[in-house]
Protein backbone atom coordinates (compact mmCIF):
# COMPACT_ATOMS: atom_id res chain seq x y z
CA UNK A 1 0.00 0.00 0.00
CA UNK A 2 2.88 2.30 0.93
CA UNK A 3 4.33 1.72 -2.52
CA UNK A 4 1.05 2.80 -4.09
CA UNK A 5 0.96 6.01 -2.00
CA UNK A 6 4.58 6.84 -2.85
CA UNK A 7 3.89 6.28 -6.53
CA UNK A 8 0.83 8.53 -6.40
CA UNK A 9 2.80 11.26 -4.59
CA UNK A 10 5.56 11.04 -7.20
CA UNK A 11 2.95 11.42 -9.92
CA UNK A 12 1.53 14.53 -8.23
CA UNK A 13 4.98 16.10 -8.00
CA UNK A 14 5.68 15.23 -11.65
CA UNK A 15 2.44 16.75 -12.91
CA UNK A 16 2.89 19.87 -10.79
CA UNK A 17 6.41 20.50 -12.04
CA UNK A 18 5.61 19.90 -15.69
CA UNK A 19 2.52 22.11 -15.66
CA UNK A 20 4.65 25.02 -16.83
CA UNK A 21 7.36 24.18 -19.32
CA UNK A 22 10.75 25.75 -18.93
CA UNK A 23 10.91 29.22 -20.43
CA UNK A 24 7.19 29.56 -21.17
CA UNK A 25 5.74 32.95 -20.34
CA UNK A 26 2.06 33.57 -19.74
CA UNK A 27 0.86 36.35 -22.04
CA UNK A 28 -1.29 38.96 -20.37
CA UNK A 29 -2.61 40.65 -23.48
CA UNK A 30 -4.57 43.34 -21.64
CA UNK A 31 -1.62 44.57 -19.57
CA UNK A 32 0.85 44.44 -22.46
CA UNK A 33 -1.50 46.38 -24.70
CA UNK A 34 -2.21 48.98 -22.02
CA UNK A 35 1.54 49.57 -21.73
CA UNK A 36 1.83 49.88 -25.51
CA UNK A 37 -1.10 52.29 -25.61
CA UNK A 38 0.50 54.62 -23.10
CA UNK A 39 3.44 54.95 -25.54
CA UNK A 40 1.20 56.09 -28.42
CA UNK A 41 1.37 59.68 -27.16
CA UNK A 42 -0.53 62.05 -29.48
CA UNK A 43 -1.35 59.26 -31.94
CA UNK A 44 -4.87 57.82 -31.95
CA UNK A 45 -5.21 54.10 -31.32
CA UNK A 46 -5.93 52.19 -34.51
CA UNK A 47 -5.30 48.50 -33.93
CA UNK A 48 -3.12 46.00 -32.12
CA UNK A 49 -2.10 42.38 -32.27
CA UNK A 50 -0.71 39.85 -29.89
CA UNK A 51 1.43 37.28 -31.68
CA UNK A 52 2.30 33.96 -30.12
CA UNK A 53 6.02 33.36 -30.51
CA UNK A 54 7.10 29.74 -30.45
CA UNK A 55 10.84 29.07 -30.40
CA UNK A 56 11.87 25.99 -32.33
CA UNK A 57 15.04 24.24 -33.36
CA UNK A 58 15.24 26.27 -36.57
CA UNK A 59 14.84 30.00 -37.13
CA UNK A 60 11.28 30.96 -38.02
CA UNK A 61 9.73 34.14 -39.41
CA UNK A 62 6.27 35.46 -38.74
CA UNK A 63 5.06 38.16 -41.07
CA UNK A 64 2.28 40.68 -40.55
CA UNK A 65 1.03 42.57 -43.60
CA UNK A 66 -0.36 46.04 -42.90
CA UNK A 67 -1.94 48.34 -45.48
CA UNK A 68 -1.64 52.05 -44.62
CA UNK A 69 -3.04 55.33 -45.91
CA UNK A 70 -0.22 57.01 -47.80
CA UNK A 71 -1.05 60.50 -46.52
CA UNK A 72 -1.12 59.63 -42.81
CA UNK A 73 1.51 59.54 -40.09
CA UNK A 74 1.81 56.36 -38.04
CA UNK A 75 3.53 55.28 -34.86
CA UNK A 76 4.21 51.58 -34.28
CA UNK A 77 4.79 50.34 -30.74
CA UNK A 78 6.22 46.92 -29.96
CA UNK A 79 6.15 45.41 -26.49
CA UNK A 80 8.46 42.41 -26.08
CA UNK A 81 8.32 42.01 -22.28
CA UNK A 82 6.61 38.64 -22.50
CA UNK A 83 9.36 36.96 -24.50
CA UNK A 84 11.75 34.54 -22.79
CA UNK A 85 14.41 35.16 -25.47
CA UNK A 86 14.96 38.16 -27.74
CA UNK A 87 13.68 38.24 -31.27
CA UNK A 88 14.53 40.64 -34.06
CA UNK A 89 11.89 42.88 -35.59
CA UNK A 90 12.33 43.94 -39.18
CA UNK A 91 9.95 46.08 -41.19
CA UNK A 92 9.97 45.99 -44.99
CA UNK A 93 8.13 47.69 -47.85
CA UNK A 94 7.42 44.35 -49.56
CA UNK A 95 6.59 40.83 -48.42
CA UNK A 96 9.13 38.16 -47.55
CA UNK A 97 8.84 36.46 -50.95
CA UNK A 98 9.76 39.64 -52.86
CA UNK A 99 13.27 39.93 -54.24
CA UNK A 100 13.90 43.65 -54.08
CA UNK A 101 12.35 44.58 -50.79
CA UNK A 102 13.71 47.44 -48.75
CA UNK A 103 14.40 47.24 -45.03
CA UNK A 104 12.71 50.22 -43.36
CA UNK A 105 13.41 49.36 -39.73
CA UNK A 106 15.34 46.85 -37.67
CA UNK A 107 15.26 46.42 -33.91
CA UNK A 108 19.00 45.69 -34.09
CA UNK A 109 19.67 49.36 -34.79
CA UNK A 110 18.87 50.56 -31.28
CA UNK A 111 20.03 47.47 -29.36
CA UNK A 112 18.25 44.15 -29.53
CA UNK A 113 17.72 43.97 -25.75
CA UNK A 114 15.04 46.66 -25.66
CA UNK A 115 11.65 45.51 -24.44
CA UNK A 116 9.69 48.40 -25.95
CA UNK A 117 10.31 49.84 -29.38
CA UNK A 118 8.81 52.70 -31.35
CA UNK A 119 8.87 53.40 -35.04
CA UNK A 120 7.23 56.22 -36.96
CA UNK A 121 6.43 56.23 -40.64
CA UNK A 122 4.52 58.23 -43.23
CA UNK A 123 4.09 58.24 -47.00
CA UNK A 124 4.00 54.47 -47.17
CA UNK A 125 1.12 52.41 -48.50
CA UNK A 126 2.10 49.00 -47.17
CA UNK A 127 4.47 47.62 -44.56
CA UNK A 128 5.44 44.08 -43.58
CA UNK A 129 6.52 43.36 -40.04
CA UNK A 130 8.80 40.33 -39.74
CA UNK A 131 9.39 38.72 -36.37
CA UNK A 132 12.66 36.80 -36.72
CA UNK A 133 12.47 34.08 -34.09
CA UNK A 134 15.91 32.62 -33.28
CA UNK A 135 16.43 28.88 -33.03
CA UNK A 136 16.73 27.28 -29.65
CA UNK A 137 18.51 24.15 -28.58
CA UNK A 138 16.54 23.89 -25.34
CA UNK A 139 13.35 22.42 -26.83
CA UNK A 140 10.17 24.22 -27.72
CA UNK A 141 8.98 27.10 -25.55
CA UNK A 142 6.99 30.23 -26.13
CA UNK A 143 6.11 33.81 -25.29
CA UNK A 144 4.33 36.61 -27.06
CA UNK A 145 4.93 39.93 -28.78
CA UNK A 146 2.50 42.80 -28.94
CA UNK A 147 2.39 45.55 -31.49
CA UNK A 148 0.11 48.54 -31.76
CA UNK A 149 -0.51 51.14 -34.44
CA UNK A 150 -1.47 54.76 -33.84
CA UNK A 151 -2.27 57.38 -36.49
CA UNK A 152 -2.54 61.17 -36.71
Amino acid sequence: MKKYINLTCALIVFISTTSFQNGDILCDSKTLKEKAKSALGPYKYDSSELTRIIYKKTETVKEIEIPLFIGEKYRFIFNLEALPKNIEIQIYNKDKDSKNRKLLFSSKDGGIDRKELQWEVSKVRQVYINYIIPPTADGSYSGCAVFMIGYK
Partner: protein, 294 residues
Protein backbone atom coordinates in the same frame (compact mmCIF):
# COMPACT_ATOMS: atom_id res chain seq x y z
CA UNK B 1 -6.54 4.38 4.24
CA UNK B 2 -9.26 4.22 1.63
CA UNK B 3 -10.15 7.83 2.40
CA UNK B 4 -6.52 8.88 1.96
CA UNK B 5 -6.32 7.08 -1.36
CA UNK B 6 -9.55 8.68 -2.53
CA UNK B 7 -8.24 12.08 -1.46
CA UNK B 8 -5.01 11.53 -3.37
CA UNK B 9 -6.92 10.40 -6.44
CA UNK B 10 -9.17 13.49 -6.33
CA UNK B 11 -6.10 15.72 -5.93
CA UNK B 12 -4.44 14.02 -8.87
CA UNK B 13 -7.55 14.38 -11.00
CA UNK B 14 -7.91 18.06 -10.03
CA UNK B 15 -4.29 18.71 -10.94
CA UNK B 16 -4.81 17.17 -14.36
CA UNK B 17 -7.89 19.30 -14.93
CA UNK B 18 -6.11 22.44 -13.70
CA UNK B 19 -3.20 21.76 -15.98
CA UNK B 20 -5.44 21.41 -19.01
CA UNK B 21 -7.20 24.63 -17.98
CA UNK B 22 -3.90 26.49 -17.69
CA UNK B 23 -2.84 25.45 -21.14
CA UNK B 24 -6.11 26.54 -22.61
CA UNK B 25 -5.82 29.92 -20.88
CA UNK B 26 -2.31 30.25 -22.23
CA UNK B 27 -3.58 29.53 -25.70
CA UNK B 28 -6.11 32.30 -25.27
CA UNK B 29 -3.21 34.63 -24.52
CA UNK B 30 -5.11 37.01 -22.30
CA UNK B 31 -6.38 37.35 -18.78
CA UNK B 32 -9.73 39.02 -19.52
CA UNK B 33 -12.75 37.15 -18.27
CA UNK B 34 -15.66 36.76 -20.65
CA UNK B 35 -19.09 36.75 -19.16
CA UNK B 36 -21.07 37.39 -22.32
CA UNK B 37 -23.09 34.92 -24.25
CA UNK B 38 -20.88 34.10 -27.17
CA UNK B 39 -22.14 32.59 -30.33
CA UNK B 40 -19.60 29.80 -30.36
CA UNK B 41 -17.78 29.11 -33.58
CA UNK B 42 -17.94 25.60 -34.98
CA UNK B 43 -14.21 25.78 -35.38
CA UNK B 44 -11.61 28.03 -33.88
CA UNK B 45 -8.78 29.80 -35.68
CA UNK B 46 -6.20 27.26 -36.79
CA UNK B 47 -3.09 26.75 -34.71
CA UNK B 48 -0.37 29.11 -35.86
CA UNK B 49 2.16 27.59 -38.17
CA UNK B 50 5.77 28.48 -38.80
CA UNK B 51 6.50 31.15 -41.36
CA UNK B 52 2.89 32.17 -41.56
CA UNK B 53 1.57 35.59 -42.58
CA UNK B 54 -1.21 37.44 -40.82
CA UNK B 55 -3.05 40.58 -41.93
CA UNK B 56 -3.83 43.70 -39.96
CA UNK B 57 -6.53 45.92 -41.39
CA UNK B 58 -7.29 49.47 -40.20
CA UNK B 59 -10.09 50.46 -37.85
CA UNK B 60 -13.38 52.04 -38.96
CA UNK B 61 -12.32 55.14 -36.99
CA UNK B 62 -9.16 55.62 -39.03
CA UNK B 63 -10.98 55.11 -42.34
CA UNK B 64 -13.62 57.70 -41.36
CA UNK B 65 -10.89 60.09 -40.17
CA UNK B 66 -9.13 59.92 -43.55
CA UNK B 67 -12.42 60.23 -45.40
CA UNK B 68 -13.40 63.31 -43.39
CA UNK B 69 -10.04 64.93 -44.16
CA UNK B 70 -10.83 64.62 -47.88
CA UNK B 71 -13.71 67.05 -47.37
CA UNK B 72 -16.59 64.61 -47.75
CA UNK B 73 -19.69 66.26 -46.26
CA UNK B 74 -21.97 64.52 -43.77
CA UNK B 75 -25.29 63.12 -44.95
CA UNK B 76 -27.21 61.19 -42.33
CA UNK B 77 -29.80 59.90 -44.79
CA UNK B 78 -27.29 57.61 -46.51
CA UNK B 79 -26.14 55.85 -43.34
CA UNK B 80 -27.57 52.46 -42.42
CA UNK B 81 -30.64 53.12 -40.27
CA UNK B 82 -30.36 51.95 -36.67
CA UNK B 83 -33.93 50.63 -37.00
CA UNK B 84 -32.52 47.87 -39.24
CA UNK B 85 -30.69 46.37 -36.26
CA UNK B 86 -33.35 43.73 -35.55
CA UNK B 87 -32.68 42.13 -38.96
CA UNK B 88 -29.13 41.15 -38.19
CA UNK B 89 -29.27 38.61 -35.38
CA UNK B 90 -29.55 35.75 -37.86
CA UNK B 91 -25.98 34.56 -38.40
CA UNK B 92 -22.43 35.32 -37.29
CA UNK B 93 -21.74 36.80 -40.71
CA UNK B 94 -24.75 39.13 -40.60
CA UNK B 95 -23.94 40.28 -37.07
CA UNK B 96 -20.25 40.85 -37.87
CA UNK B 97 -20.70 42.63 -41.17
CA UNK B 98 -23.25 45.03 -39.71
CA UNK B 99 -21.11 45.55 -36.64
CA UNK B 100 -18.60 46.90 -39.16
CA UNK B 101 -21.22 48.96 -41.01
CA UNK B 102 -22.43 50.59 -37.78
CA UNK B 103 -18.80 51.18 -36.65
CA UNK B 104 -18.26 53.13 -39.84
CA UNK B 105 -21.50 55.10 -39.39
CA UNK B 106 -20.60 55.92 -35.78
CA UNK B 107 -17.11 57.07 -36.80
CA UNK B 108 -18.62 59.18 -39.57
CA UNK B 109 -20.97 60.89 -37.12
CA UNK B 110 -18.15 61.46 -34.62
CA UNK B 111 -15.75 63.14 -37.04
CA UNK B 112 -18.56 65.32 -38.34
CA UNK B 113 -19.48 66.44 -34.82
CA UNK B 114 -22.95 64.88 -35.02
CA UNK B 115 -23.04 63.89 -31.40
CA UNK B 116 -26.70 62.95 -30.90
CA UNK B 117 -26.48 60.74 -33.99
CA UNK B 118 -23.21 59.29 -32.62
CA UNK B 119 -25.05 58.31 -29.47
CA UNK B 120 -27.69 56.47 -31.47
CA UNK B 121 -25.09 54.59 -33.48
CA UNK B 122 -23.11 53.75 -30.35
CA UNK B 123 -26.27 52.15 -28.96
CA UNK B 124 -26.77 50.15 -32.17
CA UNK B 125 -23.12 49.09 -32.04
CA UNK B 126 -23.44 48.08 -28.39
CA UNK B 127 -26.42 45.86 -29.21
CA UNK B 128 -24.77 44.28 -32.25
CA UNK B 129 -21.55 43.86 -30.26
CA UNK B 130 -23.40 42.00 -27.49
CA UNK B 131 -24.52 39.37 -30.01
CA UNK B 132 -20.88 38.84 -30.97
CA UNK B 133 -19.67 38.33 -27.39
CA UNK B 134 -18.45 41.92 -26.96
CA UNK B 135 -20.84 43.06 -24.22
CA UNK B 136 -17.98 43.49 -21.78
CA UNK B 137 -16.21 45.98 -24.06
CA UNK B 138 -19.22 48.28 -24.15
CA UNK B 139 -20.37 47.93 -20.56
CA UNK B 140 -17.09 48.59 -18.80
CA UNK B 141 -16.04 52.00 -17.48
CA UNK B 142 -19.57 53.45 -17.62
CA UNK B 143 -19.29 53.99 -21.35
CA UNK B 144 -22.74 55.52 -21.97
CA UNK B 145 -22.35 57.85 -18.98
CA UNK B 146 -18.92 59.07 -20.12
CA UNK B 147 -20.17 59.50 -23.66
CA UNK B 148 -23.04 61.70 -22.42
CA UNK B 149 -20.74 63.71 -20.17
CA UNK B 150 -18.40 64.55 -23.06
CA UNK B 151 -21.02 64.77 -25.76
CA UNK B 152 -19.63 67.91 -27.40
CA UNK B 153 -15.93 67.14 -27.03
CA UNK B 154 -14.76 65.40 -30.21
CA UNK B 155 -11.28 64.48 -28.97
CA UNK B 156 -12.59 62.85 -25.80
CA UNK B 157 -15.35 61.02 -27.67
CA UNK B 158 -12.87 59.69 -30.21
CA UNK B 159 -10.69 58.54 -27.33
CA UNK B 160 -13.65 56.83 -25.65
CA UNK B 161 -14.52 55.01 -28.88
CA UNK B 162 -10.83 54.13 -29.44
CA UNK B 163 -10.79 52.52 -25.99
CA UNK B 164 -13.84 50.46 -26.93
CA UNK B 165 -12.00 49.48 -30.12
CA UNK B 166 -9.03 48.25 -28.09
CA UNK B 167 -11.31 46.23 -25.83
CA UNK B 168 -13.16 44.68 -28.77
CA UNK B 169 -9.79 43.84 -30.38
CA UNK B 170 -8.79 42.07 -27.15
CA UNK B 171 -12.05 40.15 -26.94
CA UNK B 172 -11.95 39.07 -30.58
CA UNK B 173 -8.39 37.88 -29.98
CA UNK B 174 -9.33 36.07 -26.78
CA UNK B 175 -12.37 34.43 -28.35
CA UNK B 176 -10.29 33.40 -31.36
CA UNK B 177 -12.59 35.25 -33.74
CA UNK B 178 -10.02 36.59 -36.18
CA UNK B 179 -12.33 35.89 -39.09
CA UNK B 180 -15.05 38.00 -37.45
CA UNK B 181 -12.67 40.99 -37.40
CA UNK B 182 -12.08 40.49 -41.13
CA UNK B 183 -15.82 40.39 -41.85
CA UNK B 184 -16.41 43.44 -39.63
CA UNK B 185 -13.63 45.33 -41.41
CA UNK B 186 -15.22 44.48 -44.77
CA UNK B 187 -18.55 45.90 -43.57
CA UNK B 188 -16.91 49.11 -42.31
CA UNK B 189 -14.81 49.51 -45.43
CA UNK B 190 -17.72 49.00 -47.86
CA UNK B 191 -19.88 51.44 -45.87
CA UNK B 192 -17.11 54.04 -45.88
CA UNK B 193 -16.52 53.76 -49.65
CA UNK B 194 -20.27 53.90 -50.25
CA UNK B 195 -20.64 57.06 -48.13
CA UNK B 196 -17.64 58.73 -49.80
CA UNK B 197 -18.92 57.86 -53.25
CA UNK B 198 -22.31 59.41 -52.48
CA UNK B 199 -20.45 62.58 -51.49
CA UNK B 200 -18.32 62.43 -54.64
CA UNK B 201 -21.41 62.03 -56.84
CA UNK B 202 -22.71 65.33 -55.48
CA UNK B 203 -19.52 67.38 -55.30
CA UNK B 204 -17.13 65.86 -57.86
CA UNK B 205 -14.36 66.79 -55.45
CA UNK B 206 -11.04 65.25 -56.61
CA UNK B 207 -9.81 64.85 -53.02
CA UNK B 208 -12.82 62.66 -52.19
CA UNK B 209 -12.12 60.55 -55.27
CA UNK B 210 -8.47 60.14 -54.23
CA UNK B 211 -9.61 59.06 -50.77
CA UNK B 212 -11.96 56.45 -52.32
CA UNK B 213 -9.11 55.12 -54.48
CA UNK B 214 -6.79 54.95 -51.46
CA UNK B 215 -9.38 52.86 -49.66
CA UNK B 216 -9.75 50.62 -52.71
CA UNK B 217 -6.03 49.77 -52.62
CA UNK B 218 -6.79 47.83 -49.41
CA UNK B 219 -8.56 45.13 -51.45
CA UNK B 220 -5.24 43.36 -52.05
CA UNK B 221 -4.69 42.69 -48.35
CA UNK B 222 -8.39 42.18 -47.67
CA UNK B 223 -8.58 39.41 -50.28
CA UNK B 224 -5.64 37.62 -48.64
CA UNK B 225 -7.23 37.96 -45.20
CA UNK B 226 -10.56 36.62 -46.50
CA UNK B 227 -8.79 33.82 -48.35
CA UNK B 228 -7.07 32.76 -45.12
CA UNK B 229 -10.37 32.56 -43.20
CA UNK B 230 -12.92 31.77 -45.90
CA UNK B 231 -14.05 28.46 -44.45
CA UNK B 232 -15.00 29.92 -41.09
CA UNK B 233 -18.49 31.08 -42.06
CA UNK B 234 -20.67 29.81 -44.92
CA UNK B 235 -21.12 33.31 -46.40
CA UNK B 236 -17.39 34.03 -46.62
CA UNK B 237 -16.60 32.49 -50.04
CA UNK B 238 -19.34 34.65 -51.60
CA UNK B 239 -17.99 37.71 -49.80
CA UNK B 240 -14.51 36.90 -51.11
CA UNK B 241 -15.90 36.69 -54.67
CA UNK B 242 -17.64 40.04 -54.31
CA UNK B 243 -14.45 41.73 -53.07
CA UNK B 244 -12.41 40.12 -55.86
CA UNK B 245 -14.87 41.53 -58.40
CA UNK B 246 -14.48 45.01 -56.88
CA UNK B 247 -10.71 44.58 -57.04
CA UNK B 248 -10.83 43.54 -60.70
CA UNK B 249 -13.12 46.40 -61.66
CA UNK B 250 -10.85 48.93 -59.95
CA UNK B 251 -7.68 47.49 -61.49
CA UNK B 252 -9.30 47.64 -64.92
CA UNK B 253 -9.63 51.42 -64.81
CA UNK B 254 -7.28 52.59 -67.59
CA UNK B 255 -5.06 54.88 -65.47
CA UNK B 256 -4.80 52.33 -62.63
CA UNK B 257 -4.03 49.54 -65.08
CA UNK B 258 -1.30 51.52 -66.85
CA UNK B 259 0.37 52.52 -63.58
CA UNK B 260 0.26 48.95 -62.27
CA UNK B 261 1.57 47.44 -65.50
CA UNK B 262 4.48 49.88 -65.53
CA UNK B 263 5.16 49.27 -61.84
CA UNK B 264 4.60 52.97 -61.08
CA UNK B 265 3.50 54.27 -57.69
CA UNK B 266 -0.26 54.97 -57.66
CA UNK B 267 -0.61 58.71 -57.12
CA UNK B 268 -4.35 59.29 -57.18
CA UNK B 269 -4.03 63.07 -56.77
CA UNK B 270 -2.29 63.25 -60.14
CA UNK B 271 -3.93 60.40 -62.03
CA UNK B 272 -6.67 61.20 -64.53
CA UNK B 273 -10.11 59.64 -64.20
CA UNK B 274 -13.08 60.15 -66.49
CA UNK B 275 -16.57 60.47 -65.00
CA UNK B 276 -17.45 56.95 -66.05
CA UNK B 277 -14.24 55.26 -64.86
CA UNK B 278 -15.46 54.57 -61.36
CA UNK B 279 -19.00 53.46 -62.27
CA UNK B 280 -18.42 49.66 -62.53
CA UNK B 281 -16.49 49.58 -59.24
CA UNK B 282 -19.04 51.71 -57.44
CA UNK B 283 -21.97 49.68 -58.75
CA UNK B 284 -20.37 46.58 -57.24
CA UNK B 285 -19.78 48.40 -53.94
CA UNK B 286 -23.41 49.54 -53.87
CA UNK B 287 -24.73 46.04 -54.65
CA UNK B 288 -22.62 44.46 -51.91
CA UNK B 289 -23.58 47.13 -49.39
CA UNK B 290 -27.30 46.65 -50.16
CA UNK B 291 -26.91 42.92 -49.64
CA UNK B 292 -25.05 43.43 -46.38
CA UNK B 293 -27.60 45.69 -44.72
CA UNK B 294 -30.77 43.90 -45.90
Amino acid sequence: MKTTLSLISITLFSLCITRCGNNKQEENTTSIEVTDTIHQQKDTVAIEEDDETTYKLPSALQIAYVSKKSGAPFNESILNKTENLSRYNTSNYKRAVNFGVYSSDLANCLFNKKYQESKRYLKALTETGATLGLKQAFESDKLAERFDKNISNEDTLVQIVSNVQLKTDNLFEQNKQKHITVIAFTGAWIESIYIANQAYALQKNKKILSSICEQLTFTKTLIKALEATKLKEPEMPELLNAISEINNAFNNIASVKTATENDRELNFDKMKFTDTDMIPTMELVKTLRTKMIN
